[in-house]
């Protein structure tokens, strides 16, 4: 099919941009392992309270300045709801839902993950800056959704 010269230029340049986006995204994913949270591990959503490690949610030290937070989400709370960790700590959150779909967001950080019933989600972050961080549920989960929040204090 015949095309106008200027149209050819336009489409070539814009397509080159899209391919560049694709390559940068691929590079970040594969080389720098900067991929969105995609943990694969299942759990019986009706037996979360009886299944390890979610039968005992809380903060665990697993290495030098390395922590694991085992957390359950349910309408309308995070357990544990108040977390304290030292500055510079690398924290891995292990999350699952006891009921409906929830979101796990720590405002002003890149922590953002969907937490589905039946699935265990995982996300890691290093908290360099001390302060109080707001954890909130960012997926509608019912009538009290706006009250679903928790706090992380970095000292």
């Amino acid at each position: 099919m015949r095309m106008h010269r200027s149209e050819e230029i336009w489409l070539t340049v814009t397509t080159a941009f899209l391919v560049l986006f694709l390559l940068i995204g691929g590079y970040l994913t594969v080389q720098l392992a900067m991929s969105p949270p995609s943990h694969r591990e299942t759990i019986d959503p009706q037996k979360v309270g009886q299944t390890a490690p979610f039968d005992n949610p809380g903060v665990k030290k697993i290495g030098e300045n390395e922590y694991e937070v085992v957390m359950t989400l349910e309408a309308f709370m995070f357990t544990p709801g108040d977390i304290e960790i030292p500055a510079g700590a690398k924290v891995t959150f292990k999350l699952t839902s006891k009921d409906v779909v929830h979101g796990f967001e720590v405002a002003k950080t890149n922590i953002n993950a969907m937490v589905m019933p039946g699935q265990i989600q995982q996300i890691t972050q290093t908290f360099d800056k001390p302060g109080k961080y707001l954890v909130l549920c960012n997926e509608y989960c019912g009538g009290g959704h706006q009250f679903m929040s928790a706090a992380i204090t970095v000292k």
Binding site: F21, G25, T29, S35, P36, S38, Q46, H145
Partner: protein
């Protein structure tokens, strides 16, 4: 194709026509448009209530839940206003360009109308009763009343009835005009309904499993699989609204401004690409979900970007049309032609604003789908700002522009200069309100303000307090938007019942190359096969994975 004014020479049978409009076909389209604007009216009030509550300007009364209002707003705007507008507009255009609807097709259109209205009434009743505060995405295991899902099934069946009508009329015309390419409008109609029909199949499957589950017959549901089925549809349906706007840009806008279609062939290539490339992409709504491999997410994220290609072709084609018309009108220099466009004509202004909104709208879409960037804005107000730019500006404002010729065309009335001014005012007020609303939503979302959340201070959190100014602007935007919306609804009413009688044409532009359009473009069987192959490539592996590696399912849960 010349318009047949003599009723007895119509190719089908004697159909009553007044000034080129087939009365029976006009009645069908007008019924759809009436429902559409009634939905816009109610949905708009719901939007205002949300804006006022979220911004803290005026909290909702205790008997009305924010999430109930949000569910109603989402369903009325995203599903009812758009769907019924599209059917009304496409059926009117088909009637005009294919020389009347077949009686059989008109009947299918009415059956579709009955099913959709019944379905919407059922859905909205459950929402009003507080038995379906599940938002328009109704993610299980949130379980609404079974009647909510049954209503949705009726809406989908209505859509299928209308789709069958489009396919039958198209085939009939092809048979009658062998060797001739179909009119471009009908070609668009075919593309839009093929895409819409196939996109609705997965959501139909989802809803059909949710019915027995919500009634307690099926004890549990596969949450991830349902979610995939929903987004296969949800991602595509917004592109259907965009596709409809594109059809008006190509076919009607050049005629309105006294120009020609840039290229008939290019327009048809855009239709084919929009059909073939659209469905794979659903997972870009699930980028931060568990249980989906990064490979699959990456594939979908960038497959959904493929839609940018036909969009860029459209931008080029449309601006080429504008430049030619502007120069013909005496525009000089590199950009002088831009000023020579008929900016005071709502039939041009509204779709043009729609087009321009798609520049930031499309760019935001590329950001959302850019994988790592999505993690920053996922489920924040940014996303809400994004789809208000794309659906409520690009698509809806183009639809608004269409009203000012489509409705008088159907009612045998004319657009007076005064009504044109009222239309310009509605468009500008709407646009201004949306700039405030969408702009503040983008900014709030970028700093983490979550979407789908009633007013809250999160126990006096400092971060949450920093979102307040944006939310206030959002509330003001919602108020301004409602003023524009009310004016628009009034204008529609006026064009339907009050405007002076006369003849308004259905604007169909022509292209220099339309006689040489190759016939292979009409081979829909081929495009559908390619589309299904692309869908298979995108979904087969994760779909099987979601079933084979599924955890125990979830029971129905009501948390509101």
């Amino acid at each position: 194709m010349e318009l047949v004014l003599n009723p007895t020479t119509s190719t089908q049978q004697a159909v009553k026509k007044v000034l080129g409009v087939k009365l029976q076909d006009a009645k069908l389209s007008l019924s759809y448009l009436s429902v559409s604007f009634a939905a816009l009216f109610v949905g708009g009030i719901m939007g205002l209530l949300q804006g006022l509550d979220r911004s803290g300007i005026m909290p909702l009364p205790a008997w009305l839940s924010y999430y109930q209002v949000l569910t109603a707003h989402g369903i009325l705007m995203l599903l009812v206003f758009t769907s019924t507008f599209v059917v009304g507009y496409i059926y009117a255009g088909m009637s005009y360009t294919l020389d009347g609807l077949l009686p059989k097709v008109r009947r299918l259109g009415w059956i579709g109308f009955g099913l959709m209205v019944a379905g919407v009434v059922m859905v909205m009743t459950t929402v009003a009763m507080g038995d379906a505060s599940v938002l328009y995405t109704f993610y299980p295991p949130l379980a609404a009343s079974p009647y909510f899902y049954i209503g949705l099934v009726l809406v989908v069946l209505g859509l299928w009835s209308c789709s069958a009508g489009v396919f039958i009329n198209y085939r009939y015309w092809r048979k009658l005009h062998r060797g001739q390419p179909t009119p471009l409008f009908a070609y668009f109609a075919m593309g839009i309904f093929v895409l819409w029909f196939f996109a609705s199949i997965p959501v139909a499957v989802e809803v059909l499993t949710l019915i027995p589950w919500s009634m307690g017959i099926l004890p549990t549901i596969n949450v991830m699989f349902s979610r995939m089925l929903f987004w296969t549809f949800g991602h595509t349906v917004v592109n259907v609204w965009y596709f409809v706007a594109v059809s008006a840009w190509y076919v009607a806008v050049p005629k309105i401004i006294g120009g020609k279609i840039f290229s008939d062939k290019l327009a048809r290539v855009v239709v084919i690409l929009l059909v073939v490339l659209n469905l794979p992409g659903g997972f870009h709504h699930m980028i931060i979900d568990p249980a989906l491999s990064n490979g699959v997410k990456y594939l979908h994220a960038y497959m959904s970007m493929a839609v940018a290609f036909p969009s860029l072709m459209t931008v080029f084609a449309m601006f080429a049309v504008f430049e030619r018309v502007g120069r013909k009108n005496g525009g000089k220099g590199l950009f002088g032609w831009f000023k020579k466009l008929p900016w005071g004509d709502v039939r041009f202004l509204a779709p043009m604003i729609g087009m321009i909104s798609f520049i930031p709208g499309g760019a935001g879409g590329i950001i959302n789908t850019s994988f790592q960037l999505d993690q920053v804005v996922h489920n924040t107000l940014w996303v809400v700002g994004h789809f208000h730019l794309t659906v409520a500006m690009t698509a809806a404002v183009t639809f608004i522009g269409i009203c000012y010729w489509l409705i008088p065309h159907l009612t045998g009335r004319v657009l007076t200069p005064k009504m044109n001014k009222a239309g310009v005012a509605a468009t500008l007020i709407w646009t201004f309100g949306m700039i405030l609303l969408s702009g503040s939503q983008h900014l709030a979302g970028l700093s983490g303000d979550p979407r789908r959340t009633a007013y809250t201070t999160y126990n006096g959190s400092e971060v949450a307090a920093s979102w307040d100014p944006y939310e206030l602007v959002m509330g003001i935007g919602a108020v301004i938007l409602l003023i524009g919306l009310l004016l628009q609804v009034y204008n529609v009413f006026h064009l339907m019942f009050r405007a002076p009688k006369g003849n308004t044409e259905f604007p169909v532009a022509h292209a220099d190359d339309e006689k040489s359009t190759p016939m292979w473009m009409e081979r829909w069987g081929l495009w559908i096969v390619i589309m299904l192959l692309v869908i298979g490539m995108a979904y087969a592996v994760p779909a099987v994975d979601f079933i084979v590696n599924a955890p125990p399912g979830s029971p129905p849960i009501r948390t509101w």
